[in-house]
């Protein structure tokens, strides 16, 4: 499929995407987590681009970080310090885990991109005052962006931006639904490229490409089935894992990843006041374990997802040293165990994949479920 090639190329080289955006007079703002309000960044005339580690060898970042920082934080800092991210015009750090917050501090002092913003969102998302606060934070961020671009973000620009991101996210959701009905229409590594690419590429291009992919895979007739699996965890930026899962006889039918459903779920109502609607979306979305909405929200969500997708099992994929997900794992596992949904934990690292051990674990798990 021609469209897939574009996604694979873009994720290989985000820098070239940024250069093309510059030709279109859009400066690139990098962001660190799925709580970054892309809609506002785009409405201000910037190009939002999620940052991932290039997985280069870590040298420079070592002198700034503790051994317990995850490979994502380590890798992104290395990329910045070694000049690999020189194409960036700015960065946004939403308030999430401790490591990303401290990375923000190092970043502010050590890097020299034009624009910098911390978006200090509330961590507890279950009170009206937290919602009001969330709204204030988004307004403050709007002001920061307006200063940077030298213009007001108009109501209509924000509305247009919301509609664009809704279209992108709705198509991703549709793609996930199609895959759940007929796994194998796309390889796991292709879905990974599409979702990752959707956080990196030109949004004007995405609104063309994504519906085209959705329409092409809608026509694919039923393919080989395997053990149906849901992935749960933080980010999964190791496409090899999908190959290992597929070789072990599994098919991924859904996920709650930060680089997956957790990011694109939740359409923003287009007929409401845009700032209110935006606030509600970021307030009500399925939380990341660095935030809190209730003691049951994340547990119930994974059970619901596993049931909806008729999953045979759940694979927890956690980035090594990711403490929010590490603390959350026993809680999430308990919810699944109670429902008799088989699950397994694998820890990954951006820089090395022990594929021998991993396939032994996953093959045995497929055999077990």
């Amino acid at each position: 499929m021609q469209e897939l090639k574009i996604f694979h190329e873009a994720i290989q080289n985000p820098g070239s995407v940024a250069l093309k955006m510059k030709e279109k007079k859009r400066k690139t703002i990098g962001y660190l987590c799925s709580y970054a309000p892309e809609e506002l960044i785009y409405a201000a005339g910037f190009h939002p681009m999620r940052l991932f580690s290039s997985k280069a060898e870590i040298n420079l970042a070592e002198s700034h970080l503790q051994a317990y920082c995850c490979s994502l934080v380590r890798g992104i800092l290395e990329d910045s310090l070694s000049g690999k991210l020189d194409y960036l015009d700015g960065t946004v750090f939403p308030h999430t885990c401790d490591s990303i917050q401290r990375l923000s501090d190092i970043w502010r002092i050590k890097t020299k991109y034009e624009f910098f913003a911390d978006v200090i969102m509330p961590a507890k998302l279950n009170t009206q005052s937290a919602k009001n606060y969330m709204r204030d934070v988004l307004i403050k961020f709007t002001t920061d962006l307006e200063k940077a671009c030298g213009e007001k973000i108009t109501r209509s620009a924000l509305k247009k931006s919301i509609a664009k991101f809704n279209l992108i996210k709705t198509n991703l959701k549709k793609l996930y639904e199609l895959r759940s009905q007929n796994p194998g229409i796309l390889k796991g590594a292709d879905i990974h490229a599409i979702v990752k690419g959707s956080m990196i590429m030109d949004r004007d291009q995405l609104v063309e490409l994504l519906p085209a992919i959705v329409s092409k895979v809608s026509d694919v007739s039923a393919l080989d089935q395997g053990k149906r699996l849901v992935l749960s965890g933080s980010i999964c930026d190791s496409p090899d894992i999908y190959d290992i899962i597929e070789q072990a006889g599994g098919v991924v039918v859904g996920d709650d990843l930060c680089t997956g459903q957790r990011w694109f779920d939740g359409k923003i109502p287009e007929n409401e006041e845009p700032m209110e609607a935006l606030t509600t979306r970021y307030f009500e979305r399925i939380v990341c374990p660095a935030k809190h909405s209730s003691t049951i929200a994340r547990g119930e969500n994974i059970v619901k997802l596993a049931k909806q997708t008729e999953a045979d099992g759940v694979i927890f994929i956690i980035l090594k040293f990711c403490d929010p997900h590490g603390f959350d794992y026993p809680y999430m596992k308990e919810f699944l165990d109670k429902e008799g949904i088989k699950n397994i934990l694998i820890e990954i690292d951006d820089h090395s994949l022990n594929s021998g051990q991993l396939s032994t674990r996953l093959e045995t798990f497929m055999h077990m479920i």
Binding site: N354, G356, T360, R361, E363, T364, H367, M368
Partner: protein, 255 residues
């Protein structure tokens, strides 16, 4: 009908032959650098030992970390599945397995059909595995096979606090320098490895009766240290090291 199982581990290659649901024989070799050569050699040597020709063997299953390099096998299955089948074949009562091999240790739960219902496995680190014991034996200038017997003479097992093979080795070396008794050091090494393995067993809530399999089960000191930790009796068969290969042969007969 004759079936074979071949288990290519990180240190040794094992083969087993089953005829009419009876274990005929097993064979063990060092794996060395080339896993395919090792698998051919261990299989051929076993066949000539029992005077069976290749074409009499109906099906072969390969297992172990080198399972996918055995190109003459009909199917590859993980060693976790095969150790389950092997333990069930030798003793159908078994519900829990501790398998400690060259570079991995695993705790496995079985149902009454010998099917794996849960398992846990060490992460990348080799602490508590056969390789760990090899490194320690070398530091103590002892033959690996002697560790078990000598450790039983210990009066006060030394305290090895480190869980990393490399750091534990330097702890052992400083104990040697302090002239700590050899048997106490070895018992301490076993304690440290057993503590590590016991956490894997606890993760899956291991159930009795428990069998220990894998090459490390030949070390009586390790078995005793684990029995103390798990507070239960641990069964060990004469073919503990070949248990994965036996399981592979058993599963080959069901293909």
């Amino acid at each position: 009908m004759i079936f074979a199982g071949i288990d290519i581990g990180s240190i040794t290659a094992k083969a087993a032959i089953i005829k009419d649901n009876q274990l005929i024989s097993t064979h063990v070799l060092f794996t060395g650098y080339n896993t395919l050569t090792a698998s051919q050699k261990v299989f051929e040597e076993l066949l000539s030992k029992v005077n069976i020709s290749k074409n009499e063997v109906k099906t072969i299953i390969s297992t172990g970390y080198g399972r996918n390099s055995v190109d003459f096998a009909d199917k590859a299955l993980t060693e976790i599945i095969c150790h389950g089948a092997g333990a069930h074949f030798l003793n159908p009562e078994i519900r829990g397995i501790i398998d400690v091999g060259g570079q991995d240790s695993k705790a496995i739960l079985l149902d009454n059909n010998g099917k794996v219902t849960n398992f846990s496995m060490n992460d990348k680190c080799a602490a508590g595995t056969g390789r760990f014991l090899e490194v320690m034996a070398r530091a103590l200038e002892l033959d690996l096979d002697l560790l078990g017997e000598i450790s039983l003479k210990a009066d006060t097992p030394a305290n090895i606090s480190s869980i990393c093979t490399v750091f534990a080795e330097s702890e052992v070396i400083s104990m040697i320098a302090k002239q700590e008794k050899r048997e106490n050091i070895i018992a301490g090494i076993h304690e440290s490895a057993a503590a590590r393995i016991a956490t894997l067993a606890a993760k899956i809530k291991i159930q009795e009766p428990v069998m220990m399999t894998g090459g490390v089960a030949k070390n009586i000191g390790m078995v005793k240290a684990l029995e103390n930790r798990l507070k239960c009796q641990i069964l060990v068969t004469d073919s503990a090291q070949e248990n994965g290969a036996i399981g592979a042969a058993v599963l080959a007969s069901t293909l």
